[in-house]
């Protein structure tokens, strides 16, 4: 923390006003914890979800314990396809950077699991509800590991 400036001015009622310019910065070492196998999967080119051995419910985003019965889940691979529920073109970059605006963002229901993801769809067209998309693994180093993937509209289905 540091104080970088002081502003002495006068309020609307003529009262003294005193403003401090302060700087703080936060740095974190964030454990993704039980999602670690998912992130390893991204590096191996596979999208992973979890399934409950007790009730059979499947979860994406993956969950370590089934919220229904608190049983520890098991990992499995997803086909990487899904269907768009809704999409929008976003005009500002995401917080960690890595995507130049405008970009297309969609809520996607994933095949092979009772769950979905909100993620980027490549290209400039905003897909309609029901559009089938496939995960694409991006080669270059991403600003955030979750941006190592994006979704693409299947050829001929735009």
């Amino acid at each position: 923390m540091r104080v970088t400036g002081v502003d002495r001015s006068t309020g609307t009622g003529g009262q003294p006003v005193y403003l401090l310019d302060m700087e703080m910065s936060q740095r974190y070492r964030h454990a993704v914890g039980s999602s670690s196998p998912f992130y390893r999967g991204l590096e191996e080119g596979v999208l992973r979800a979890t399934r409950c051995p007790e009730c059979g419910a499947s979860w994406f985003p993956p969950r370590r314990f089934c919220p229904v019965d608190m049983t520890e889940t098991a990992w499995y691979d997803l086909p990487g396809t899904g269907t768009v529920t809704a999409a929008t073109r976003v005009h500002s970059p995401p917080p960690f950077g890595g995507i130049d605006p405008p970009y297309v963002l969609a809520s996607i229901r994933l095949d092979g699991v009772d769950g979905g993801i909100t993620h980027r769809v490549t290209g400039s067209e905003t897909p309609k509800k029901g559009t089938v998309v496939t995960v694409t693994f991006i080669e270059e180093a991403a600003a955030h590991p979750l941006l190592a993937i994006a979704f693409s509209v299947r050829r001929g289905e735009a």
Binding site: T85, A86, H91, I117
Partner: protein
């Protein structure tokens, strides 16, 4: 109802600061003290010494740059020594604080509770910092990496609403116009404006179809309400007999999956938790025909389209008809239910921890008939407040009523 019983929870006093872009002359503790002082004076009290308990409402240590702020505020308003609860519920924080006070009063744990909330969401935090902090309101692990502005999930919801029901961007732009216009008559509002649908549609794009004027304001501000049993009010509040008492008739909260992508296709364009909270609040308040029984509603218009969705989920109009209702001005001044007479988050502004309390201040002032001029909702008997966290992950609906 004609009168309230001794254990009915009444609003004994209300107060709020103006909501502004930057209070260069006041810290968050100063603002909470201003609002609390007004609320206490409104109850006819000279101090907080007779008050049993405090409930502090604020969302963000990052925006307010003070951890354990609750104790600081509690001490600032003269309640040090008394019990305190700090409440956080995202955008619903202030309303949830009122609900928490209501529970303390109904349980008999307290007979009077001062609820005070404040936030410095305005320009004391620079734009880049504010953007970074607000991005953490989404799921940091699964959403924040792909979108940084809440315009995005709100846009996804309204896009599906448009597809399913034929709702148009011009319809929700009319809400942006309405609330900014209503704010012109509220001296405490952050920024009333006289704008047109064209102005909204030609403002900077945020996340299609939403544009800058569809988005609400980030403000500095504070608000406070003194809740007490009818018995306590009669004993301690000199202003009790001077005006018709206003009761907190009901309060309900409900939750939903925070991530949009976890919600069902069926409910995707709707606030399921808002619908559930409203149903429970109406049941508890004995309201079976909301559009004809509710006189005014302070609604969480974080984005213009969210107000249109709220018309439906608060049962003020049928599902899918929110756009049409907005276009017809059904919930404008003079309408069937006046929605956001204060100007809402779009015009009065939003200082998160204070917002749900400021809504209550507006509703109570209207029910007492203390609002004068064009903003007055004359003869109002029942008013509700509606707030939510995230995109409806936690919804709180509070119902207020004036004794006949």
């Amino acid at each position: 109802m004609t009168s309230f019983s001794g254990d009915t929870v009444l609003v004994a006093g209300v107060g709020m600061t103006p909501f502004v872009g930057f209070r260069h002359d006041a810290s968050v503790r100063d603002m909470v003290a201003e609002a609390s002082r007004t609320a206490v004076a409104d109850a006819g009290l000279r101090s907080t010494s007779q008050i049993d308990m405090g409930v502090a409402a604020y969302e963000s240590d990052h925006f307010n740059r003070q951890m354990s702020l609750g104790q600081v505020l509690h001490d600032t308003v003269g309640l040090a020594g008394k019990p305190l609860v700090r409440v956080e519920g995202g955008g619903a924080t202030g309303a949830l604080a009122i609900r928490t006070a209501l529970m303390a009063l109904r349980s008999g744990e307290a007979r009077s509770v001062l609820v005070f909330g404040g936030e410095t969401n305005g320009k004391s935090v620079d734009r880049a910092t504010a953007t970074e902090i607000l991005a953490m309101s989404a799921d940091l692990e699964w959403e924040t990496p792909v979108f940084g502005t809440f315009a995005a999930p709100y846009a996804l919801m309204i896009t599906e609403h448009m597809r399913r029901y034929g709702t148009t961007a011009e319809q929700f732009a009319q809400i942006a116009v309405k609330n900014r216009r209503l704010a012109l008559d509220n001296p405490l509002a952050h920024r009333g404006m006289s704008i047109t649908v064209d102005d909204v549609r030609s403002s900077a794009p945020l996340s299609d179809p939403y544009r800058l004027f569809d988005a609400s304001l980030l403000s500095d501000g504070a608000a406070a309400v003194l809740l007490a049993t009818s018995e306590w009010s009669e004993q301690h509040s000199p202003t009790f007999a001077a005006r018709p008492p206003v009761a907190v008739l009901a309060s309900a909260a409900a939750t939903d999956h925070p991530r949009l992508s976890d919600r069902t296709d069926e409910m995707f364009p709707h606030f399921a938790a808002k619908r559930n909270a409203a149903a429970e609040a109406y049941r508890a308040a004995g309201i079976d025909d909301p559009p004809n029984q509710v006189d005014l509603a302070e609604v969480y218009d974080s984005f213009s389209g969210a107000e249109l969705q709220a018309y439906e989920d608060l049962v003020l109009c049928p599902v899918g008809r929110g756009g049409q209702a907005a276009a017809e001005g059904r919930f404008d001044r003079g309408g069937q239910v006046v929605v956001n007479p204060s100007g809402g988050l779009l015009g009065r502004g939003s200082a998160v921890g204070a917002t749900g309390i400021a809504q209550a201040v507006e509703v109570v002032s209207q029910l007492r008939g203390e609002v004068t001029g064009p903003r007055a909702v004359s003869g109002a008997r029942i008013g509700i407040t509606d707030t939510h966290a995230g995109v409806g992950s936690l919804c709180v609906v509070n119902v207020f009523a004036r004794a006949a």
